[in-house]
Amino acid sequence: MGAAEILDERKASIKAGGEAGIKCGSASVSGAVSQRACVYCGARVVLNPITDAFHIVHGPIGCASYTWDIRGSLTSGSGLYRHSFSTDLREEDIVFGGAGKLARALREVAEKKRPKLIFVYSTCIVGVIGDDVEAVCREAEKRHRVRVVPVQSAGFSGTKSHGYRLACEALMRLIRPRQGTAGKEERAGVNILGDFNLAGEMWIIRNYLREIGIPVQAAFTGDSSHDSLIRAPRAALNLVQCAGSMTHLAKMMEAEMGIPYMKVSFFGVEDTTTALRRTAEAAGTERNIALAKAFTDRETRRLCAFSEKYRPRLEGRKAAVYVGGGFKAISLIRQFRAMGMETMVVGTQTGQPEDYEIIGGLVGPGAVVLDDANPAELERFMREKGVDILVGGVKERPLAYKLGIAFCDHNHERKHALAGYEGVVNFTREVHLSMNSPVWECLGRAR
């Protein structure tokens, strides 16, 4: 590396493929145009898909308005989660404290709407002005007989990953009282952790599990509700799909409830097949294993025929990946490889050392791996490696287009389901459509 425009502080977070010891999980460098969000954002994105909960943001209006309807999580039940609720703290609340306003907000919600579950998110200044959110929530819980779960998610108190941990702790707080509802021998089926039902992906995964005869107890948190989540202690196994956000919950459930967990990924043919077969082996009988084998074989054959059609338009092209968690990046690298494409640039916002180890082994020595990349670095390496498409989120999309690079959103703004075998079809089509769009023919000057 070592070019002038890479900050010295950033050099340890950028490695060539195969190089070990990337620096990750630290706060962004001051002055960076970081693509990362904050602790509150991490907590909110994980809990937001709980459809029948009131998600009340305790703070000035911004944090509520920016996260209003933040991700395309679909619901089969309540639409409550798609509203924005906030205490909209004003100057006088900052001076005199906001706890009274929060208590009134909780009363207004509890008395008028009689909900089962309220989350209260504290934002940056709540801790600074000294509101005792924990006490207000406890009091409201008693008085109004509704679950009120505080999430102390001051933005500055760590990275987005810390927000994931807080969300996991809030979820644990929700299900802990139901711990004794099933003895070990009565437990059956699985919980799905870390799918948020973007574009209906949770439904796809549920369908697969139904196909192989594995019952699903609770889903964290895509298309979930208070009543469905508290069934979680009845499961025999936790499947962790988004490891970055949900491993902490899985570990707590293992320690406190004795429910083991397994990391899986439903992105790409290879990973989806592995996930279903391993699930059947871990949580099912011989029958489930046979069903899983038959189902995944059938789907793999179907997808093979599909991929062959697209292969000539994709083969030999180069990809860049910039996503939230490391596990997703790993799946995407594999998926591109199956499409005949090589991943030349890999970045994540919250990847863990063990993820980077796997990534380093998957990509070639010509590739570059970055933690918490900023736009300047992304631009530089995408150009240097000559990539044809970037997979990323909202802030990366216009950057890619400006550089004349195709784009696929694998984040909140994904247009189609990208999980499972259906997801492979959609992903392949999107990558093809963007890379081979006629718009690229119009670049340059009038001719």
Binding site: G31, V33, C38, I61, I94, G155, A376, V394, L403, G404
Partner: protein
Amino acid sequence: MLDLTPAKLAERSALRVNPCKTCQPVGAMYAALGVHRCLPHSHGSQGCASYHRTLLSRHFKEPAAASTSSFTEGASVFGGGANLKASVRNVFDIYNPDIIAVHTTCLSETIGDDLKAFIQDIDIPEGKLVVHTNTPSYVGSHINGFYNMMTGFISYLAKSAGTPNGKLAVFPGFVNPGDMREIKRILKAFGADFTLFPDTSGVLDAPMTGRYEMYPSGGTTLAEIAGLGDCTATLALGELTSDEPANALKRKHGVPYRLLPLPIGVSFTDRLMIALSKEKKVEVPTELEEERGQLVDVMLDAHFHYSGKKAAVFGDPDTVLGLAGLVLEMGMIPKYLLTGTSGSAFVKLAENLFRRHEVKDCLARESADLFELHQLIKNGKVDILIGTSYGKQIAKAEDIPFVRAGIPVLDRYGHSYFPIVGYRGGLRMLERISDALLDRQDRDAADEDLELVM
């Protein structure tokens, strides 16, 4: 999803539901992006910058660069001075802007960071600049942030050499780059020598070239901002947005200003024409007269279709007032005018409009939210909803035609390239409102009632 909204209005003292505003810093970021080779800097947690950039990217479909002080636990206890110092060094090292425009956040305000003192203590590289403004998120809205950032630039940079430079300072208000382009076109038609500040055209509507320019060619230049103090007068567009910075420029350098409504619709655009005509001591140019005539022509052609129809308009205060003016000129009734930004001046100006056009039973609300708007609509139907993308759910729930205008529009493409200001912008809005109403009429018509000619 809005089937939960009850029609019965109830007092809410503590809960904001579905806001019609956001916080100051994003307005400050937008203003700073309208300065050439400027990098906005958010002095707070890194989430703030990320949210603002996301919102701007979702609206403009463009990259929106901004850096952040990335507050940690330590900074929130000991103050963010060290973070700002490191930020300024890093930003100039790696992103090399000409100027960094720092805005504060609720966090840095609450812990009492003194930005002025911090900046004085920083070694700023030769030829580079750092300015700041205070944008506490718990005061006002993004509109306050927008004009506070303008005022920040003015107080740091505007100079007066004592000799007038013959230029007009023009403040466009919180509008899209397409509007800023239109305002510049009008000014050029008058032959005016001017400084438009801020100017996001050429920045947030920069063309696709195959290169990523962190600082595209647009934006008000630093020389132009410095020259504001020698301008002959300021035209401050948007009575609730541009008053403060125009006043700051007047206080500091004695530049007189005219405060005008956003030039939306016929009579508000006329006000701009008259002001320009007086300032430049010339007649209104023929091409603009012609555009006015065209707008009125189409209004007349179609007036019977929308006459008496009821509209709800929501969004930022000056935009809502401007659109209300147009709607009234079209013979429609602006039954609800609603903004989330606080300030009784909005209600007063709205009520003046109601009186001038002699319409009854219209309601203007400030510091309001979209849950309330939805409830109002449930209690008294309207025929069309005009506002930001956040209205789409109400429009769907109540099955009302919906015209997007203002900021943000997150779910449609190309809008920010076109104006709603000026006679041209008026014609565009007229077409869109008219289309929305007539499309609805066609959709609902029985086969035998479907007209080819309307």
